[in-house]
């Protein structure tokens, strides 16, 4: 079996509120980047599949030089190999283009069974790349996956987290999977992995290597334009203490207040 994990970098979630509109527009958020937290679940699941089923895992990122951080995290966690995909023609790509580029990279690697992505990036927060990737590959997309139940004989069965609970789905391989955090608890990097990661050199695949028509990706191929960015208003909150003689009285008041606010 061959597993491919798509990873990217993002700012720390806690730091996001510091990003200004100008920084977001420039594409340089002025923050130290870490591995997109959701991608750690994808890495972990890729490693678990390899440990249980055998086979290989490859990590892929689309990004210019200096964005190897997410590949290094993957290696530090135990992924043996990573590839960075970049070409100047990729700059300004929207999610659809990133999906196309990733699909070309996956095809170049060939004979894959499962591609794993994060659920979403914590900055762009589009959750569109997995969709674009699956459609470009012509593979089934299994999003919101909370558990891989079985894999083999050309099929995979998973549990998806849906509003009503969990649903069990079986699909033909290959598939693209975007897991939710219920799927696993990502492992820590190992020291051996850290030593490997700090010395790792990653192959770079460009548009020519992938056979991508430069006009279909990057700014030239973008279908989405970010016209007018603005920050959401800061969240306002206030605290109300429910006064009362007894617990029952306080709870009754609380329930009334919650119903008045249409919270329940």
């Amino acid at each position: 079996m061959k597993y491919i994990v798509c990873v990217t970098q993002s700012p720390d979630t806690a730091e996001l509120p510091k990003v200004t509109v100008d920084q977001a527009e420039s594409g340089n958020q002025g923050l130290e980047l870490i591995t997109n937290p959701w991608d750690e679940y994808a890495i972990e699941e890729g490693l678990r599949l390899k440990e249980k089923q055998g086979g290989s895992v490859l990590a892929i990122t689309v990004g210019p030089a200096g964005t190897e951080g997410a590949l290094k995290s993957a290696v530090a966690m135990g992924v043996p190999k990573g590839v960075r995909v970049w070409d100047d023609a990729f700059a300004g790509s929207d999610a659809l283009a990133i999906g196309r580029i990733l699909a070309a990279a996956v095809r170049k690697e060939g004979d894959y069974d499962v591609v794993l992505t994060g659920k979403t990036t914590v900055d762009g927060n589009g959750a569109l790349v997995p969709v674009a990737l699956a459609s470009a590959l012509g593979a089934a997309l299994l999003s919101q996956v909370a558990k891989i139940v079985a894999i083999g004989d050309g099929k995979i069965t998973v549990e998806r987290l849906v509003e009503e609970g969990r649903e069990k789905v079986t699909a033909d391989l290959p598939v693209v999977i975007a897991p939710v955090k219920e799927i696993n608890e990502p492992r820590y990097a190992s020291f051996m992995g850290i030593r490997k990661a700090s010395r790792a050199k990653f192959d770079v695949w460009d548009a020519a290597a992938l056979g991508i028509n430069a006009g279909s990706v990057g700014a030239a191929g973008a279908k989405v334009a970010w016209g007018n960015l603005s920050k959401p208003p800061a969240r306002e909150g206030s605290v109300v203490l429910m006064e009362g003689e007894t617990v029952e009285e306080k709870v009754t008041k609380l329930v009334d207040a919650l119903m008045a606010e249409k919270v329940i």
């Binding site: 995290s73 820590y188 850290i194």
Partner: protein, 402 residues
Amino acid sequence: MDFAFTEEHDMVRKMVHDFAAKEIRPVINEYDSNHKYPRFLLPRMAELGILGICIPVRYGGAGMDYISLGIVSEELEWADASVRETIAVHLALNSLALLQWASEEQKQRFLVPLATGEKIGCYGLTEPAAGSDVAGLRSTARKDGDDYILNGEKMWITLADVADYLLVFAKTDPSQRHRGISAFMLERGMEGLTTGTIEDKMGVHASNTGWIAMDDVRVPKENLIGQEGEGFKIAMSALDDARYTVAAGAAGTIRAVMEAAVHYANEREAFGQKIGQFQLVQQLIAKMALNYDIAGLLWQRVGWLKNQGIRNTKETSMAKWFATEAAFAASSDAVQVHGAYGFSSEYQVERYLRNSKGAVIYEGTTQIHQLLQAQYALGYRHDKPLRCELPAYDPEAWGEEG
């Protein structure tokens, strides 16, 4: 000159920080208030390689450098000093002493299981009547054929009731002071060896601190570490390693209490404004920020010296003295910023204050470090080369499998 941590260091920090945040912080209050040693952390830290982080891979360790040891210490103490103490004792005082002084056969026998975390080590130097005055220790080791017979009592020994391998110091020549001391590796289960725990302590409640009693303990000569009469040098060189972890750990305390103080100062209001707006509160926080950086620079210099294989007794003593006093002051100031809430155990800062008092006493009291620094400055003290030096860090050799 280069002031940056390497990418490798950044990854080590993230890994240990995540571990401390996810697995120590959520439970530490419970262990602290019940005065219980969180034993479950040992197999976890063993599995992750933390218990042998700076020991070469061929001796069962993780093969990282000495700066990584400092980072581990800082991140663990960011959660709680008692967990960092386990590293100071098991790894710095015991395992690193073996790496520096033990024979190859002893390294295979003791260091490998310690580095993998299969066995836990402690270090017994202090006695009921001899703390700062190490040369005044009274435990004895009498030669008997191919064995030594050890008698005496050790006091205030971290991990006394936890350790499997106990590195103890006793006089093979009681007529001498420094030169009469030798080092022995005791193994739990040896006849006449008993240990116990000291229950009532001001801080580090989640650390095991205890005593060791030796009543005619027969120790084979294969367990003599270094040569007869070399015990004082072994003890002092091990302290260079452990004081380094204490200094780095203290920086973790400063960071933890500063985070808490900053958070609180941005929330709590008095006289119609956030208390962080008051300049007298700002002064307390400014000192924490300054001292965190000084403590950091001092311990990192030592880590660099260790990596190069350069003797660092003076620099280590300075780092330990400064960082532990600064951590004590920062914790006390953090309690102050929190007002009465800081005085309650509901907010964690009082735990750091209690813990940080221990660190200005153990591993050489502040006064002992002041004496050392004065003696260096006045030219009364010079470090002579040792028969065995702590090996410099060699990334290739340390990563090699055995």
